[in-house]
């Protein structure tokens, strides 16, 4: 039996990476929940849950900005 042609190996590898990337994006869409994250000078960051006081206020403020930005023309 002949070994696979080199270009076939390359195509298989590329499509393997593409499949993995697509699966990662699917998992990300399913698993990702709304969040509010603040970053400070020096690299520190802090997450605020949406049921905390600060988190709730951040989500309201973000909602207003999303409203003013409107929908993107496709």
């Amino acid at each position: 039996m002949n070994p696979p042609k080199p270009h076939r190996i390359l195509l298989d590898r590329v499509s393997g990476y593409a499949d993995e990337a697509a699966a990662y994006m699917r998992r990300r869409r399913i698993a990702r929940r709304p969040f509010a994250r603040l970053y400070y000078a020096g690299g520190r960051s802090a997450d605020h849950a949406h049921d905390s006081d600060a988190g709730a206020e951040l989500f309201v403020a973000a909602g207003r900005l999303i409203e003013v930005a409107g929908k993107r023309a496709k």
């Binding site: 970053y39 000078a41 909602g63």
Partner: protein, 133 residues
């Protein structure tokens, strides 16, 4: 050498050009605004008054949440994502579609404010050659 066409822009025009360039570089972007250090709007994709008020409120809440001024804000909701950044004495606030790549968007926003501060704003249509891509 700075691009003569870029440096010849008036501050308001430069901010408009910077926002247009940022929008061109980021396909997920729905809209945004660039604000001066005093909170006034230098450029906005729509309703500058609303952007000024709502961006100021967002930064106010974010600053109060941690007891110190924030550098970046990222709020991801079901309806879209909000990114806000302070840099070079200015701030940029944008709204993007869900699942926008945060690190790339913050990088582009930072590059845009830096170019604006240094008077080297590329004209829209020059995308792909700067370091902001």
């Amino acid at each position: 050498m700075p691009d003569a066409a870029a440096t010849a822009l008036a501050p308001g025009d430069a901010a408009e050009a910077a926002l247009a360039f940022l929008t061109e570089m980021s396909p997920d972007l729905r809209g945004g605004a660039i604000l001066a250090g005093d909170g006034s709007v230098l450029a906005a994709s729509s309703a500058p008054g609303r952007w000024r008020e709502d961006a100021a409120k967002l930064f106010e809440i974010a600053d109060a949440a941690g007891g110190e001024p924030v550098e970046q804000v990222h709020v991801a909701t079901e309806q879209g994502e909000v990114f806000a950044l302070r840099h070079e004495g200015m701030s940029a606030v944008v709204v993007a579609d869900r699942f926008a790549l945060a690190s790339l968007l913050f990088f582009d926003m930072r590059a845009t404010l830096r170019d604006l501060a240094h008077g080297t704003v590329p004209a829209p249509g020059d995308g792909g050659e700067g370091e902001g891509g």
